[in-house]
Symmetry: none
Subunit: 184 residues, 4 copies
């Protein structure tokens, strides 16, 4: 199994460039240069640029969803799983910053196409929160809870990207506390 076949390197380079400069502002030539091949070679692996765009969204969206779902459905008390989900969310962001930024960018530019790709990461969060409501841990409307959960974590990551927030020891725990206080 080639871990770093050309196709994978094209996807990695595209993700990085798309998330830094935007999709339209990244050319096939840019990608080829980053990978160290020529334009024509890209087309050995992808029929169109759009295919790269979609494959990236699909694969990282799934990866994120799976990671979250695993936390949501893990063993343990509700608050434990809540913490694990917070951790899963933020560690995905910190480990794949380009991917997370790309997923957001895709939402902004392709709002109408997003539905094609389900399940989406948010579905895992909804699962967690719905259970919290049923179990009585959460007392606010699902929509508000979802907005706060996702919005807060997203912003924690984005602020850390701009340097305004340094991810320190105890971050996950602190965020969990804030969220649970707000939602209950």
């Amino acid at each position: 199994m080639k871990r770093h076949g050309t196709k994978e390197r094209i996807l990695e380079a595209s993700l990085r460039l798309f998330s830094e400069k935007g999709i339209r502002e990244t050319t096939i030539k840019d990608i080829a240069k980053e990978v160290g091949i020529t334009e024509g070679a890209i087309y050995r692996h992808f029929a169109t640029k759009e295919d790269i765009v979609k494959e990236l969204f699909k694969s990282y969206s799934e990866k994120f969803y799976n990671k979250l779902t695993q936390a949501v459905r893990s063993k343990g008390s509700y608050t434990d799983r809540f913490l694990k989900t917070v951790e899963a969310f933020l560690s995905f962001c910190f480990e794949n910053p380009s991917a997370f930024k790309y997923l957001n960018l895709f939402h902004y530019l392709r709002a109408r196409n997003v539905k094609e790709f389900s399940p989406l990461p948010k579905d895992a969060v909804v699962e967690l929160l719905e259970e919290g409501i049923k179990e009585g841990f959460i007392k606010v409307r699902l929509e508000y809870a979802l907005a706060m959960f996702v919005g807060t974590l997203e912003r924690v990551f984005l602020l850390s990207e701009t340097g305004l927030l340094k991810p320190e020891e105890g971050l996950y725990e602190e965020i969990r506390l804030m969220l649970l206080k707000a939602l209950s």
Copy 2:
């Protein structure tokens, strides 16, 4: 032919199209068609497409900042002003959905250029939260409070855009409560 407010109509059309499709994916021709003029006419009002892009960011960024600042510095108790700021944030979003989405998009695509345009809306929020910390209403770190405040409100708006959340009576009040609980 004298047309009134062509410049304003160009800005409005651009904002709508940019926020729906993206900046690069909106052409001057698209804008012209939307306004009902020809491409060349755009250039009597703006030297380049980039000028439209920047003027839109600048003007709506200022408008948002001013609206928030007015709430932050209004008369009344801290919790009153906190509520007013939540209201100001969300009503700006609901009244100018294209503008809010555009400001976010601009952040994603032009992260490095954002600093040229200060003060930014977030500065008004920071002012509110710093005071809350000094007065003892807020007990968490400024960065976390900022992430939660901005992230939650942003997501409330974005979820309402997708139809997942309906802005109802009492929304502002509810959100304020959630935030104050979390932060204290």
Copy 3:
């Protein structure tokens, strides 16, 4: 009689700009700005830009031809008239540098159209040289004489424009001597 009617000012401004930057690289707006009016106003005086281009060539070509012809046909000995013609040529250049440069530029860009505008300045010089041949003052072929006469004077002017040659006392006389020595 308006000495500086708008039409004249348009012609003057056009001549200056055309000779400095080129015809195509000078826009109607450039001309309008130079004159202190707006684009539309130009069209009160000229139907097209091409009309300005042609009128300038025609009028300065004639002016130059007339000045040269007057010297060629003046009273006096042949060598006197020869000197006068040298003087006429160079003083036209020094007094109307833009016009002379423009005439040359027009020749380069519109070689095929030049014939429409006869008589041309060179025709006056030919008249002088043909007489010189008939009278025995000139012993070389007409074409060579013409090339040397026109070429030398043109270059004297052009070198003075670049600052390499300073037009001093005695220039005309010196040039006449050189030319007459060469041609006889």
Copy 4:
């Protein structure tokens, strides 16, 4: 499809068109059509039209300078080398009429940019004439000698282009005699 020498063919076509119609009045499409390719293909070989313009000036300016310098610095008596230089000048013109016209046109349109490209052909002529002055073959000011040398040869070529002068046997010799008589 591998085509050989496309870059050279673009330069040749550009030179021809520029010298016939002017730089601004020649479009990239004109050039592409002349070469038998499409507009986009030009940009694989040159980043901008301006690059073609400058590369043409630079390469022909150098070629001309080198040819002249070789004659100026050749073995033989001064008058021999003077003749060789006359020959070099005129044969360059007759063999590369487009190039010579283009160099002149460039001087007219870009007077201010010309200095970037040294050494210029005239520098070779100056070298010849300065030596002539030092050796006593030339008794007139350098500037006048330069004006006459360059001006005469240029005009000989230009008149031959319009058909007014036919380059015959003995032309070079005759011109040398005229010049040496005038300058001494």
